[in-house]
Symmetry: C2
Subunit: 321 residues, 2 copies
């Protein structure tokens, strides 16, 4: 990657809210939108000021039909000025495919616990780190040299092993940065964390990342998603994931919520005086479109029911990045 | 009041979680539990380690039948060793009635905005402060001299006036403390606040309160209830309200959630290493009883669906205060 790439995608001090509904959000849903439905969704969120989109995963389309159109989605996002498409690449083959698209960011994942790593990607953590290193090498040989983001899943708790020793996370982060990752994201994959744990981990990882952006991928499974996001923002995390209506559940708790509700997250940022360029009012209006597009899904979120506070209804116009 | 009273009810540095479901929670519900149902609820929460209960409001029983048994409820709580019953007294007449019960705490309320004060209690803010002063005088002449708590409602936003100037809140807090209030509680009555606003206000009010306990009454109307509670705890608020299953809505937003979910709040405290004496696991189990008791109500909360994290299922035994 080039540092110029990274700093134009993630300008210093700016908080980037990423819509992950079209990737993480579709991993567990019974139905999924058509390619046209996805592009309508992206276009409408783009008009509301959203600039970061998790576009999909490079996986065999026969087993993962919801991501069969990932190339089209990346292409569509690439056509929107200032928009950033990120894609999940779980192995070198996926990365090689992704490198043939204009996607400016490839996401790699390493689990914090050995058990989760084996169950999730059938690799040990060391093997998963080897994949990250291999993807970084592939990137060096590519034409557009995309950014490589390393996500540490189950970093704040694991449904198989329980509590996770932060030292394990820091070891993996260090090895991932050495391998060439440009961004580190801490994932509370199963929603175990509290704000104190999140704050401590973001603080340490930011020191390790030495100026590279640090993000969080938080789940709201136990109701603390936004409290954790607030703590992460206070500690300087600048990439925060969420999904409109909280699309996407938790594999370990079928009844529970999953991703942080994107529009509520945008509201949180607004109450903190953080300008994300996202128009919360327009996002709330999109909830109706989303529900029509995916009639079988359960959506979550408070703002959609309560509306914006009096005096805040007219959000500032979305500011293009 | 006697300082001894206050410090035995609220030991220094200890965080008190108050169940407000039987008062605030019953203001808007279609149905309400029988006296026996209420005492079963209190007994079960007491067994789970809860020690602070909002017992009801002294209001004309003809118009407020849900609180007609407030004396019985206070008496029941008074019989539980270490349990604290608080009651809402909106005028001097109510306070005089309350002073004939063993309730160790009377709650008074002043709205931060003039419009809300006029609509809520048909008094100006100055008149409402006059009532607080009168209740403090009545208390001085009473046998057991209960604690007087001053709640500032709409302190963080108002559905009639919109944003609230914190200076208005601080002025009212100062006058209320001068009048004799022993405790100040900041209420985000309509769920407008974000964690930054809550933190700033708790910090300032704590300075003003000069060692007297400071609490928060937060609503989860816009999804930030627990993020706000976390911020309040970080700034040293030691009295936090919530209701099991989030019982009680928001008068200004009929579809929305109201009170913070008590069991999720207790979990938040646990993730922060704050020992509240409350057994989260037992609270979750109570949700079933509550739903049977009030079949027509909608309940909220994440933990009831997701369960406690692996390794935290066995909460420490409740510790009597």
């Amino acid at each position: 990657m080039t540092a110029a790439n990274l700093s134009s995608m993630y300008p210093d001090g700016r908080v980037a809210l990423r819509e992950v509904g079209l990737r993480d959000g579709l991993q567990l849903t019974a139905s999924f939108p058509s390619t046209e439905g996805k592009t309508r969704w992206i276009e409408a969120e783009y008009a509301a000021g959203v600039r970061y989109f998790d576009a999909g995963s490079f996986l065999p389309p026969a087993r993962h039909p919801q991501f069969a159109d990932v190339r089209d989605i990346v292409g569509f996002i690439d056509g929107l000025p200032g928009a950033v498409a990120t894609v999940l690449t779980l192995n070198a083959h996926a990365a090689a495919d992704a490198l043939e698209t204009p996607a400016p960011q490839l996401d790699c994942v390493v689990s914090a616990t050995e058990s989760h790593s084996l169950r999730n990607v059938r690799r040990t953590r060391e093997e998963a780190l080897g994949v990250v290193a291999e993807i970084c090498r592939l990137r060096e040989g590519s034409a557009h040299r995309p950014v490589i983001a390393l996500g540490i899943s189950t970093a704040l708790g694991c449904t198989i092993e329980g509590q996770v020793d932060p030292a394990d996370v820091y070891r993996l982060v260090g090895l991932g940065l050495d391998a060439g990752a440009d961004i580190v994201s801490i994932a509370d994959t199963v929603g175990y964390a509290g704000p104190l744990q999140v704050a401590d981990m973001v603080r340490t990882v930011r020191t390790m990342a030495d100026g590279r952006p640090v993000g969080v991928h938080l789940h709201d499974t136990r109701g603390l998603g936004l409290a954790n996001a607030s703590a992460a923002l206070d500690e300087g995390a600048t990439l925060i994931d969420g999904s409109l209506g909280g699309l996407g559940g938790c594999p370990a708790a079928p009844m529970a919520t999953g991703n942080i509700v994107f529009e509520d997250l945008a509201f949180l940022c607004r109450t903190k005086g953080i300008d994300t360029g996202v128009d919360v009012r327009k996002l709330i209006a999109l909830r109706k479109v989303q529900a029509e597009e995916m009639p079988g899904e359960t959506f979550h979120g408070a703002l959609e029911k309560a509306g914006l506070p009096l005096g805040l209804e007219s959000s500032p116009a979305a500011q293009p990045v």
